[in-house]
Symmetry: C2
Subunit: 438 residues, 2 copies
C-alpha cells in the first residue's frame, strides 16, 4: 500500500484565499451527548461508591480484574525496577531529558514564580505569596499512544513548583504496563501511581476514594472520556487545558534544506489524522521543493498512512507575498508549535505575537523541543495561544495577595474606601473602614 500527500496549496494573492484559509483552519470539538451522559454517571458513581466503583470500571473497560485497590497501585519500587530494566541508552536519554526539563523549569520558577512584597510610603505592606499546590494528579494515557515524555512534562514542573504529592494514573488495558512510562515516573519523582484510567480515574483524583487521595488539580492529556471528565470536575479541582489536535506551523524563508521542513511537517502529521501541518513561505519554488521532498520521503515513513491522511485532510502549503505577511498570518492562526525556519529568525521573532512555542532557526526542529530542549511540550492548541500559555511551574502554584495596612495607611485608605463603599451602597464596608479612622 502506498500513500501520497498533497497538502492544499494556497496563495494569499488568490481571490478566494480568505474563504479557503478559514475552511482549512476550521476545527471544532463536537460535544458527544452520549459520552457526556456516560461520564456524568461514572463521576457520580465514583463519588458515591469510591474504590468499589473504580475497581468495577477498571474491570469493565481495562479488562483488569482485581480484588482490591492495592492491586491497582504501582509501588515506587516497581517504578524504579522498570527504570532499571531499560537499556542504558534509554535510561540515559530519559535522565538527560529530565535534567534539561528540570533546569528550564527551575529558571521559569526563578523568573516568574517567587513571592514578592514591598511597603508603600505609609508603611503599608503589599505583595503576593506564591505557594505550591498540595497535591496534583497526572493523567497519563495508556495503550498504544503511551508517551513517557508526557510524564516528564507534567510531573517535573509540579515537582519544581514544590507540590507535596504527585499522583499518577495510567490505564494498563489487559494489564500491559509500558516500562518507559513507569521509568519516566521514577525519573520525574512521581509520589504514587495507580493503573487506572478513563473518567473513573479522573473522578478518583477529583473526589478521592479510600485509597486514591483527592488532589487539587488534574493535568495531562486523554481521550474524549477523560476530556469530558476533566471539564466536569473543573471547579472541584483545577485542570490544565483541554487539548485539541496538535499543530505545527513552519514559517520558511527558503534557507532550510527542504527535506528538513518536510520531515518537520511529517512529525506533526504522524500524531493523528486530525493533526495540522502548515507551511507559510514567500518563495513558490521552495514550496515546490518541499512538496517534492514530501513525495520522496513519505514512502519511507512507517506511519505514512496517518501522515497522508493528516496532510491531505488538514495540511496546507501557503504562498505569501513576503515574510511579514507570513508572520501576520501566523498571528491569526496562533499555532501550538511555530518553527521560524529562517536564516535570520531574530528578525521575525518580534513580529510573532501568538504561539505556544517558537522554534528559532533551522536546527530547532519541533521534535527537539518535544523531548529534551527543556521547555514544556504541553502547549495551547486550536488558536488558544491567543490567550493561554504552555504548561509550566505557574500551573502548579497559586498566589495569595498579602496586605498589611499600617495604622497611618488606614487613615488615607479608609477615607477612599468610605466614599466608594457608600457609592456602591455597601454601608457595612464603609463602616468597617470608618471604624479604623482615628
Amino acid at each position: 500500500m502506498t500513500f501520497s500527500a498533497a497538502p492544499l496549496r494556497l496563495s494569499t494573492a488568490a481571490a478566494d484565499f480568505e474563504t479557503a484559509f478559514k475552511a482549512r483552519l476550521h476545527w471544532s470539538a463536537d460535544a458527544d451527548a452520549a459520552i457526556e451522559q456516560r461520564v456524568a454517571e461514572i463521576l457520580a458513581d465514583v463519588q458515591k461508591r469510591g474504590d468499589a466503583a473504580v475497581i468495577e470500571y477498571t474491570k469493565r473497560f481495562d479488562r483488569l480484574d482485581v480484588a482490591d485497590m492495592t492491586a491497582l497501585e504501582l509501588t515506587v519500587e516497581e517504578l524504579r525496577a522498570a527504570f532499571e530494566s531499560l537499556p542504558a541508552v534509554q535510561r540515559e536519554a530519559l535522565e538527560a531529558a529530565a535534567r534539561r526539563v528540570r533546569s528550564y523549569h527551575e529558571a521559569q520558577k526563578k523568573a516568574s514564580g517567587e513571592s514578592w512584597q514591598y511597603r508603600d510610603e505609609d508603611g503599608t505592606l503589599l505583595g503576593q505569596k506564591v505557594t505550591p499546590l498540595d497535591r496534583v494528579g497526572i493523567y497519563v494515557p495508556g495503550g498504544k499512544a503511551a508517551y513517557p515524555s508526557s510524564v516528564l512534562m507534567n510531573a517535573i514542573p509540579a515537582h519544581v513548583a514544590g507540590v507535596g504529592e504527585i499522583i499518577m494514573v495510567v490505564p494498563t488495558p489487559g494489564g500491559e504496563k509500558n516500562p518507559l512510562v513507569l521509568a519516566a515516573a521514577h525519573v520525574a519523582g512521581v509520589s504514587r501511581a495507580f493503573t487506572i484510567g478513563g473518567a473513573q480515574a479522573v473522578a478518583a483524583l477529583a473526589y478521592g476514594t479510600a485509597t486514591v487521595p483527592a488532589v487539587d488539580k488534574v493535568t495531562g492529556p486523554g481521550n474524549a472520556y477523560v476530556a469530558a471528565a476533566k471539564r466536569r470536575v473543573f471547579g472541584t479541582v483545577g485542570i490544565d487545558m483541554i487539548a485539541g489536535p496538535s499543530e505545527i506551523l513552519v514559517l520558511a524563508d527558503g534557507s532550510t534544506p527542504p527535506d528538513w521542513v518536510a520531515m518537520d511537517l511529517f512529525s506533526q502529521a504522524e500524531h493523528d489524522e486530525l493533526a495540522q501541518s502548515i507551511l507559510l513561505c514567500p518563495d513558490a519554488a521552495y514550496i515546490d521543493r518541499v512538496q517534492q521532498e514530501i513525495d520522496r520521503l513519505l514512502p519511507t515513513m512507517p506511519r505514512a498512512e496517518i501522515i497522508a491522511a493528516s496532510l491531505n485532510g488538514r495540511g496546507a502549503l501557503i504562498h505569501t507575498r513576503d515574510m511579514e505577511e507570513a508572520c501576520a498570518i501566523s498571528n491569526r492562526i496562533a499555532p501550538e508549535h511555530l518553527e521560524v525556519s529562517s536564516a535570520d529568525p531574530h528578525r521575525w521573532e518580534p513580529l510573532l505575537k501568538h504561539a505556544g512555542a517558537i522554534f528559532l532557526g533551522a536546527y530547532t526542529s519541533e521534535s527537539l523541543g518535544d523531548y529534551c530542549a527543556g521547555p514544556n511540550h504541553v502547549l495551547p492548541t486550536s488558536g488558544t495561544a491567543r490567550f493561554s500559555s504552555p504548561l509550566g511551574v505557574y500551573d502548579f502554584q497559586k498566589r495569595s495577595s498579602l496586605i498589611e495596612v499600617s495604622e497611618q495607611g488606614a487613615q488615607t485608605l479608609g477615607r477612599i474606601a468610605v466614599t466608594l463603599a457608600e457609592g456602591e451602597g455597601l454601608p457595612a464596608h464603609a463602616e468597617a473602614a470608618r471604624m479604623r479612622l482615628k
Copy 2:
C-alpha cells in the same frame, strides 16, 4: 422590622465538630438545566445573527428598544462626561483607588510578568516571551449591584499588561446608566463600552458581531446566565474564574476590638444571603464579645436583613484549641478573604497556605482591600484558592516558549530525541532530529 443574627457556634473540641463543620461549609452551584438551555440558544443565535440578535435580546431583557447598535455604544466622551459630573470627593476617591491598584499591578508585572531567556553551555537559547492579549472583554453587572470598583479591578490589570483594546459591556436595564460605573471605565482606560448584558453580551464578545469586536478573553462577574455563558464560550475565548458566593474568614487572637471584627463579618454578609462569614478564635470569651457586638450593631445596618440571612444561614463562630489549629482549619477552608486579626500577624502568616487574599493585622479590614489597598478584589471562592489565584496582570498576558537550538546543541539533543521518539513509536520525530545530526 428587626433582625437578629446568631452565626452557628462550633467548637473543635466537640465530638460532632467534623460533621457540623462540613455541613456548614457545603455549597454547590446547582446547574440549572433551564438556564443552560436558554443560554445555549442565545449564544447560537448571536453567533448566527450578530447585532440583530443582540438588539432583540436587549429589548426583551433590558427593555431598551434601539434601531441599531450605535445606540448601544457608549462613547469615550460619555464616559468622561460621567466622570466629570461626579462630586469632587467621588472623583478623587476613584482616581486615588485607581492609582493604587495600578501601582500594585505594575509591581506584579515587574515581579512575575516579564520575558526572560538564557543560553545553555551549547549556545542553545531557551526562554519565555510574555505578551499581552490583543483584546479583552470586561463584563460589568448593571442594575442594583453595580460596582465601579469591579471596573477598576478588571480593567486596570488588563491595561497594565498592555492589552490593546479593553471592551466593557454593562447592561442598563430600562436605560438607566450608573454614572460611577461609567466614570470608573473612564478612569481605568476602557477602550470601548456597550450597554448590553446577559448571555447575549458574552456571546457578542466571544464571537464578535458587525459592531462588537471579538475578544480573546472575557472576565468579570455576572448572574447565573452570564456564568453559564462564560462556561460555554470557554475555549473559543479565555475566561477568568466562575465565582461562587463571597466569603470571609477571620482568624482572631482576641486583640482586635470586637466591634471591628463584627463589622468585618457584616461587610461580607451584606453582599448577599449566600455569602459566608466565619470567625476562628481560641478565646471563647472573645467570641462571646463578638456576638454581643453583632447583636448591638446589626440594628444599625441598612442591609440588616441580608446580613442576618447570611450569618444565620451560613455564618459560623468557631472556637479552636489554639491559633495553630485555627490556621490549620483556615487551610482546609481556603477562604477567598482571610483576615489575620492578630497582634502578631507575621507569626501566623507562614502557616497559612491557601487563601485568595490575606489581610494582616487589625487595621487591614477587608473593605480597604476591596477598594483601594492595591491588590485585586477578584479572588478565588469556594475553596478554589487551593489551586487558583487572584485576578492579575498574568491573566491578561500569555507566554510563548522560545527555543533556538545551536548546531552544536542539535548534536547532543538530537541523540536524546531519537532514542525517546523511537521508544514512543514516532519515527518522523526521530528522523527530524536525525537529519540535523552531522
